[in-house]
């Protein structure tokens, strides 16, 4: 037998009566919602949540502590609690509160449990007379007579007396249930007679339907199998255990062996025993473990004061900052013009001074706004434990997921551009990379494969590496498929090193799988991953160890809003090269250029670095300085390899906003975008990977 929550007595009688009438004798769902203190920082609005709760019939909102004086209140800390009655089923109410499930208690109650009487006892023989009459009318089924008697006595009883309260409930019963429910009628009539209230008969807890209990228990098991922060684990398990025990009891299952199954769940995150007890099939389940870095402990002085701001507002400020940076660049052009065209060196110096000041302020502003947009990569990685578990289960593989460095921060837009490629890479690892448990055991590996996602900052970049200890990429098969699919000639494929051949997987339409699976092979391949990352200004690097596993590293700029570039001269034209691609610049004596076959190269710190002339790559003429003593060489990193790019000269460095090529320029090979120069000219930004 289960009693209704005590807080129901705190609801006003009028509200309970209204809810009782609305329920028309059916069961109701009582919910108690105690939001977490810091829930506003997660974007929760408990009041809004309750406002939108389904079919709420009664509601009480109370502070969970005495309300302090205004000046002692933290306006961003939640201290209200919500108690309500809903006509919707417990399942529907639970679904509504699913994101705050651990903060909500949901109980199904009988409508009769709302009939809690209150008031002072009134004296008088009239109440005994009414009781005798009412019992006779009940026995005779005289509803009309009982209604008249109730109306008469209600008119003379003191409204605040307990008897008046009982009479109001009698009237509500008569309207909604008629003369059925004799036990309830007797309780109410006895209350009128004696002026003493007895509790409504608690309803026997209805057994929870087996399929519902099974589904809920499965959710609990899966929730526990998804690791969270270590510090919260004991509390999480206590809640899981409590719920599972209650579900077993409510569904009428024997709890024999439950302790053992719960211990396995707690100690090994192994829910198989519990699943078996619930009658679910034995399944290959991926116990997923994540090394989650616990967040820093809150300041002793309390929670940090944080305000949620619409992302659009921040983006608008960032766009303005980007425009300001471009506008600022025009000052250096003006300074040069003041000196060159107007011969005013003093004016030029003043403009340069003003430029330096504005530059400093702009940089501070940019750093400030960027820091607002920075989020930990955990925002992207938090979905992976479940993804890995579900995919591994579908594939019948056992997988351990290890996440490292998820507190590494990057711009929100960068993180958003990272999400889809990462999902694809992880799916590829699970689908193509990791072997089945049988294959792994046969290869002398543990049955559990490991997928590791590691994030870290490197200079102005965020690097995320996805590695697995699977079979690696079968390079011979990649070569064969590349020839079969016509993506490379047999000669070219033969000349390739293993590392180069492995990178063929990034070519459009490439797949070594003959059968397309539901997971990674869905018509989009690693080429989409690479193009997505490149579009965001990053690069993808693949490292392959056949038989031991593969690593895919994504490297993205911390922010996509502003790009640092260097302008270079080539055949009388200016071009921009992103700074992050440049390793160094140097003047190379003509005599140091070596001719290897038809190509040029030079030796840089004991390493041979191939040379490429920008003018030739762009199909321009006039940059070969016959007889010149040296060449301007920009050493750039392309796909992890160094190449020397010969240009006519280096110009200025600048920060600018690179706009992607649009309209007729879209798809123009060799260029990644355009930028506005200080004098209003448009600068083409080179896409070195494509060009070289």
């Amino acid at each position: 037998m289960r009693r209704a929550p005590a807080w129901i007595g705190g609801l006003a009688e009028a509200e309970r009566l209204a809810a009782f009438r609305a329920a028309r004798g059916a069961k109701l769902t009582a919910f108690a919602f105690d939001p977490e203190e810091d829930c506003f920082f997660r974007g929760d609005d408990p009041l809004g949540m309750v406002r939108n709760a389904p079919e709420v019939l009664a509601l009480t909102v109370e502070p969970n502590r005495p309300v302090a004086a205004l000046d002692a209140v933290d306006p961003l800390m939640c201290w209200l609690t919500f108690r309500g009655l809903s006509k919707a089923s417990p399942g529907v109410v639970a679904e509504h509160f699913r994101y705050v499930a651990e903060r909500v208690e949901i109980v199904e109650i009988a409508a009769s449990e709302l009939a809690l009487l209150s008031g002072a006892r009134a004296e008088g023989p009239v109440f005994r007379d009414f009781a005798a009459l009412a019992r006779r009318q009940l026995a005779a089924g005289d509803a009309a007579g009982l209604a008249r008697a109730l109306a008469t006595l209600s008119g003379i009883a003191a409204p605040t007396s307990l008897q008046a309260s009982a009479l109001r409930w009698c009237e509500a019963y008569l309207v909604t249930c008629g003369l059925s429910r004799p036990a309830e009628w007797e309780r109410l009539i006895a209350a009128v007679e004696t002026g003493v209230a007895s509790d409504p008969t608690p309803q026997a807890a209805a057994p929870v339907p087996a399929d519902l209990a099974q589904a809920l228990a499965l959710e609990q098991i899966e929730a526990w199998e998804t690791p969270g922060e270590a510090a919260l684990e004991p509390g999480r398990f206590a809640a899981t255990e409590h719920t599972l025990r209650a579900l077993f009891a409510a569904s009428g299952r024997s709890d024999a062996g439950l302790d053992e199954a719960l211990a396995a769940l707690r100690d090994r995150r192994d829910g198989e025993l519990l699943r078996a007890r619930l009658g679910l099939h034995e399944r290959a389940v991926a116990p997923v473990k994540a090394a989650v870095v616990a967040p820093a402990a809150p300041e002793a002085s309390g929670l940090p004061r944080v305000l949620r701001v619409d992302q659009g507002k921040i983006d608008a400020i960032m766009n303005l900052v980007a425009e300001l940076i471009v506008a600022k660049n025009s000052l250096s052009y003006l300074a040069e013009r003041a000196e060159r065209e107007y011969g005013s060196r003093a004016m030029s110096r003043e403009i340069k001074d003003a430029h330096a000041v504005i530059d400093r302020i702009t940089q501070g502003l940019q750093v400030g706004v960027m820091s607002v947009r920075m989020l930990p990569v955990s925002h992207v990685l938090q979905r992976f434990p479940r993804l890995v578990r579900d995919v591994a289960r579908a594939l019948g593989k056992k997988v351990e997921l290890v996440v490292e460095g998820d507190d590494t921060e990057a711009d929100k837009n960068v993180l958003e551009s990272l999400a889809d490629p990462l999902i694809h890479i992880v799916r590829n690892s699970l689908d193509h990379g990791l072997e089945t448990p049988q294959e792994r055991l046969a290869a002398g590996k543990p049955a559990h494969g490991t997928v590791r996602i590691a994030a870290h900052n490197a200079s102005d970049f965020v690097v995320i590496e996805v590695s697995d200890d699977g079979r690696g990429i079968d390079v011979a098969r990649v070569r064969q498929k590349a020839v079969e699919r016509g993506v490379a000639s047999p000669d070219r494929v033969r000349e390739m090193s293993d590392a180069e051949a492995a990178n063929l997987v990034f070519l459009p339409g490439f797949s070594t799988k003959d059968e397309v699976s539901d997971l990674s092979g869905r018509g989009v391949g690693m080429d989409v991953v690479r193009s997505t990352v490149v579009r965001a200004g990053g690069e993808v690097v693949l490292r392959n160890e056949p038989g031991k596993g593969a690593t895919v590293a994504i490297r993205l700029p911390l922010t996509m809003a502003v790009t640092r570039i260097v302008t270079v001269d080539c055949a009388g034209r200016l071009f921009g090269i992103p700074m992050d691609a440049i390793a160094e610049t140097l003047r190379l004596p003509e005599a140091a250029i070596r001719h290897v076959g038809g190509s040029e190269a030079f030796v840089l710190r004991n390493a041979v670095v191939p040379l490429a002339r920008l003018s030739e790559r762009l199909g321009l003429e006039g940059d070969r300085h016959e007889g010149a003593d040296d060449e301007a060489v920009m050493v750039v990193n392309i796909g992890g390899e160094r190449v020397g790019l010969i240009v006519d000269g280096f110009r200025e460095r600048m920060e600018t906003v690179v706009k992607p090529l649009a309209g007729v320029l879209e798809g123009l090979a060799g260029f990644s975008g355009t930028a506005m120069l200080g004098d209003g000219r448009v600068l083409l930004i080179l896409d070195l990977a494509e060009l070289i």
């Binding site: 509601l59 009480t60 309300v67 306006p75 961003l76 209200l80 305000l307 701001v309």
Partner: protein
Amino acid sequence: MPFRVEGSRVILEGHCSVEEAPDLFQALLAVEQPVFALQHAETLHTAVAQVLIAARGRLETRPTERTLVACLAGLETT
């Protein structure tokens, strides 16, 4: 701005989001015995409602929306 202060009268309008709560809180520190005009307030975020409760002001009129009625039940009406 979804709220404005006119003397002791604090008028809330439209959708009052969590971002308004700190500003409203600051504004109410300077208002003695505030009177809240919620006739044109469509929704209040929990944080805003809490500031109203903590300020212990009076309501110009009782709200009609159920959750707000329950939330501000402790405040008196002018």
